[in-house]
Every structure is written in structure tokens, then in C-alpha cells.
């Protein structure tokens, strides 16, 4: 996994490898949760959504185990330099993965509600593409972690832009649907939250990639990465003729 020499205390190597193996296991579960949550929404599959909801407990449990392992490593081995950075990054990455798991669970919960309503045309395929992109980002971030690959991690950080743009597009789309027919509001609100969950998951994948940069170089990457989610500041995202647009003129 690393090109570094072994520790004189071989148990230290085993501990470090064990904790990183848990991160990988957790990463696998979280990736599956994203895909399953997206699939359940797409196929209106309540059973699969239920599986995602119940599966989150295992992810939470792994996070707890990783925290305990990390605390034990710090107390017993007093890690320094790159060993210290492994332990610190493992703790942060597990927290990121845990949050992503929660968002996937939330998506699955909303799916449970959405299947009771008539579908919003066209929205599912955009959401599916977005979820797939998020899952790919996460996969790349975790690959970058295993391979200690800073270039790939930087690439993940840059690509978050695309997820932000997908979210912007969906935000406008849902707004339009809601204005067209108020009966769409409930469904669109849920769909919007799902899109927002995806966007947040992308941010957590980016944060994992940032941990990879820190782990390898010892420096935190600058906060100059592109941010394209403008929905929280930009009045212009509201479609023409909407209430927001008028108040801007006034």
C-alpha cells in the first residue's frame, strides 16, 4: 500500500494497515449505498430503498470502530510524521464517509415518500447521472487515497465543479416545475433535497481528496477550488417572472 519501509515494531504496521482496511470497507459500503439509493429512486423500488436505510447502521458502526482504533493508535504508538498524518486523515475520511452514508440514507427515505406520488418527468435521469458522477468522484478519491496519488486527488477536487453545475441545473428545473403546477411542489421539494444531498456528497468526496493531498504532502490544499453552487447567493437563478426576480427590480 505504501512504498515506505516497515516499522521496527511490526505490530505498528499491522495496526496502521488494519485501520486503513476498515476505511476501504467503509468506502465500499458507502459507494454501494449511493448507487442503491439512486437506483431505488429511478426504479421506484421501495424494497431497495429500505435496504439502503437499514444498511447505514453498518457504516456508522465502522466509523465508530475506526475512531476507537485511531484513539488506541495515538495513545499506544504516539505516531509522528507520515504515520501521524495517516491517523489524522483516517479519522477525517471516516467522518466524511459517515456523512455521505447519511445523505444516501436520506435519499432512500425520500424515495419512500416519492413512490407514493406521480413521477416528475425527466428529473430521474438527471438525478441518476448526478449520483453516478458523485459515486465516481468518491471512488476516485478513495483510489487516490490507496495509491497516495496526489494528481488524481487534485483532479477530483477540480471535478467537483461539474457536480455543482448539475445541481444548479436541477435547482432551476425543479423551480420551473413547481411554478408550472403547484401540485408538483411536494415531489419537487423532495427531489430538490435529493439533488442537494448529492451535491453535499460531492463536497465530502472533495474533502476526502483534500485529505489525500495532506497525507502525501503534509500541506492542506488552498481553498481556491472552483465553486459553482450559486443558488445560495444568486438571485438570477430564479426563472423569469418569478417573485424573486421582481423583488430584485424593486
Amino acid at each position: 500500500m505504501t512504498e515506505q519501509k516497515q516499522h521496527i515494531a511490526s505490530a505498528f504496521d499491522r495496526d496502521l494497515e488494519a485501520i486503513q482496511a476498515k476505511i476501504m470497507k467503509m468506502g465500499g459500503l458507502v459507494e454501494a449505498a449511493i448507487l442503491d439509493a439512486s437506483q431505488s429512486l429511478d426504479a421506484r423500488d421501495e424494497e431497495l430503498a429500505d435496504k439502503v436505510r437499514k444498511g447505514d447502521a453498518a457504516i456508522d458502526e465502522l466509523e465508530e470502530m475506526i475512531n476507537e482504533d485511531a484513539a488506541r493508535l495515538i495513545a499506544l504508538r504516539a505516531p509522528t510524521a507520515s504515520d501521524l498524518r495517516v491517523v489524522l486523515s483516517v479519522m477525517k475520511i471516516s467522518a466524511n464517509l459517515e456523512r455521505i452514508g447519511d445523505y444516501a440514507k436520506n435519499m432512500a427515505k425520500r424515495t419512500g415518500v416519492l413512490v407514493q406520488m406521480s413521477p416528475i418527468p425527466g428529473s430521474h435521469s438527471s438525478l441518476r447521472r448526478m449520483a453516478r458522477e458523485v459515486e465516481r468522484q468518491l471512488q476516485d478519491a478513495l483510489d487516490a487515497y490507496i495509491r497516495r496519488d496526489v494528481a488524481l486527488a487534485e483532479d477530483v477536487i477540480q471535478r467537483d465543479l461539474e457536480i455543482d453545475q448539475m445541481y444548479n441545473a436541477l435547482f432551476r428545473e425543479f423551480l420551473t416545475f413547481m411554478m408550472e403546477d403547484p401540485r408538483n411542489i411536494t415531489a419537487c421539494m423532495h427531489l430538490h433535497f435529493i439533488a442537494k444531498n448529492n451535491e453535499r456528497m460531492g463536497d465530502h468526496a472533495t474533502s476526502i481528496a483534500e485529505q489525500v493531498v495532506y497525507l502525501v504532502t503534509g500541506e492542506t490544499p488552498d481553498e481556491k477550488r472552483p465553486k459553482q453552487d450559486k443558488t445560495s447567493t444568486d438571485l438570477g437563478v430564479a426563472p423569469e417572472g418569478s417573485y424573486v426576480e421582481k423583488s430584485k427590480d424593486a
Binding site: K5, H7, A9, F12, P79, T80, A81, S82, D83, R85
Partner: protein, 264 residues
């Protein structure tokens, strides 16, 4: 606009000792190779490295303790406040009053606690009267964080104290001559964790007044007490920098291997 919490920088201290291109030979053995280092005032500098790397040898060049070894030869210059301590006009005894030393094993003189402290000030003529000397003894023992434990038995032998107390007595003895620099060669390796903690606390207090240089085999001790760390390997100074940087993000792979406990 808020100030970034990262913006406050660490305090810069004056350079107390500057070593330039220092070489040390024991007969044919080249023990220290081309070492350049600047030791700051009011700072604890730790020397770390595996056994035989030259850290103790280098420490001993700083107050010419190597003069006592016949086959030892020192080249290059070591400036204390800008003056070369290897200059012929420098009296090594006076130098050692300015650059005090504490050793690995506590080595109190076989005299009373009082006389252990009073010895240095007496030979250097620092006290004119008995009252002056009493004052120096009390002040030094307080600096050594041992006054409260020995004030009622100043005239009992120093060798009767516990190991940790003896070491603090030796530190008090070292500060009695009002040194400017304090060299410590593994001062805690013969002490238990409580005594170690007390000596480390003392080192932190001494930093207010002196420049302290400590050789230690305990990486955790270097990390706890020092602000600057120098890593020696095979007679070379491999890396010198802020302790926090050395322990979180060392630049040289040899430093990394050593402090993370890897086979190197």
C-alpha cells in the same frame, strides 16, 4: 475582514550560538562532518539521532568538553555571541561557567547540598559574603525547582537525595554560575516518569532565561520540550527546523524513517 488565525507568527530570538563548518575527529574517525547550525537564545533546541550519530559529541564541542579528550580535534568555528570559543584567548573554565552542562547520570559532588551549589560561585568569585552565597544557593535551588524539598536539610549530603532530586540539584548547580547557555546530555534517561516530568517542566521554565540545548533519545521528550529540533545521522546534521514541522512533516526521508521508528 477577520484576521486569519494562521497569521500570527512565532517569535524570533537572537542567535546565541552559531556553528560554522564544524568538523570533529577522534584520531582518524571523522565524527562530525561539516555541521552548520544556529542556536537561538531563550529557546530549547533538541538534538536527536541514533546512537553514535554524533549528537553528544557535537553538544560537547559547544563548551569545549572535548578538550579533555587527547585524540579529539575540532575544526571550523563556534561563535558564542559572535566570539569564537576555540580562540586561544578563551579560558575554557570561564567558558564553561557561561555554558553550563548537565549530564545523563546525576553526578552531585560528595558534599552537602549547600556546597554542591556553592562550589561554582565560590571558585568564580561570584559571592563576596556568606549572605551573598546563601542568597545564590537559595535562588539556584528555587530555579532548579527543588528548594522546597531540601530547604530544611541543606547540610545533608547531596548524594542522599533521590535520582530525580539529584538531577534537579545538578541543574541548580549548573545555573548557580549564571550561565547563558545550558547543555543537557540526556538529562532524564536515568529518571522515572514523574521525575522526568518535573525536569521537563523545569527546562520549560529555564527557557525564559537561557538558551537550552538538550540531547535526548526520547523522541517524545524532544517533541514535548523543544522549539527547534536537529536530527543527526552518521555525523551529519540531516535536518534542522521547527520541532512541530520535524514531527509532522519532516523534509528528509532519513528524518522521517528515524522519527517514525522505521528500519533505516
Amino acid at each position: 475582514m477577520y484576521d486569519s488565525p494562521k497569521s500570527d507568527s512565532t517569535v524570533k530570538h537572537a542567535i546565541k550560538i552559531a556553528a560554522n563548518k564544524v568538523q570533529v575527529f577522534y584520531g582518524d574517525t571523522h565524527a562530525i562532518k561539516d555541521v552548520d547550525v544556529q542556536i537561538e537564545d531563550k529557546t530549547v533546541t533538541a538534538f536527536i539521532g541514533p546512537s553514535g550519530c554524533g549528537k553528544s559529541t557535537f553538544l560537547r564541542t559547544l563548551n569545549r568538553m572535548n578538550d579533555t579528550i587527547d585524540i579529539c580535534r575540532v575544526e571550523g568555528e563556534i561563535l558564542l555571541d559572535g566570539e569564537n570559543i576555540y580562540d586561544k584567548r578563551v579560558d575554557p573554565v570561564q567558558l564553561r561557567a557561561k555554558v553550563g552542562m548537565v549530564f545523563q547520570k546525576p553526578n552531585p559532588f560528595p558534599k552537602s547540598i549547600y556546597d554542591n551549589i556553592a562550589y561554582g560561585p565560590r571558585i568564580h568569585g561570584l559571592a563576596k559574603t556568606k549572605a551573598d552565597l546563601d542568597e545564590i544557593v537559595e535562588k539556584s535551588l528555587r530555579r532548579g525547582a527543588i528548594w522546597n524539598e531540601v530547604k530544611d536539610r541543606l547540610h545533608s549530603p547531596g548524594t542522599g537525595l533521590s535520582g530525580g532530586q539529584q538531577q534537579r540539584l545538578c541543574i541548580a548547580r549548573a545555573v548557580a554560575t549564571e550561565p547563558e547557555v545550558l547543555l543537557m546530555d540526556e538529562p532524564c534517561s536515568a529518571l522515572d516518569p514523574i521525575a522526568t516530568g518535573q525536569v521537563e517542566e523545569l527546562i520549560d521554565e529555564l527557557r525564559e532565561s537561557y538558551s537550552v540545548v538538550i540531547v535526548t533519545h526520547s523522541m517524545q521528550q524532544a517533541a514535548r520540550v523543544s522549539q527547534k529540533t536537529a536530527f543527526f545521522h552518521l555525523g551529519n546534521l540531516v535536518e534542522f527546523g521547527e520541532t512541530s514541522q520535524i514531527f509532522t512533516n519532516p523534509k528528509d526521508p532519513r528524518t522521517e524513517s528515524y522519527i517514525t521508528g522505521r528500519i533505516g
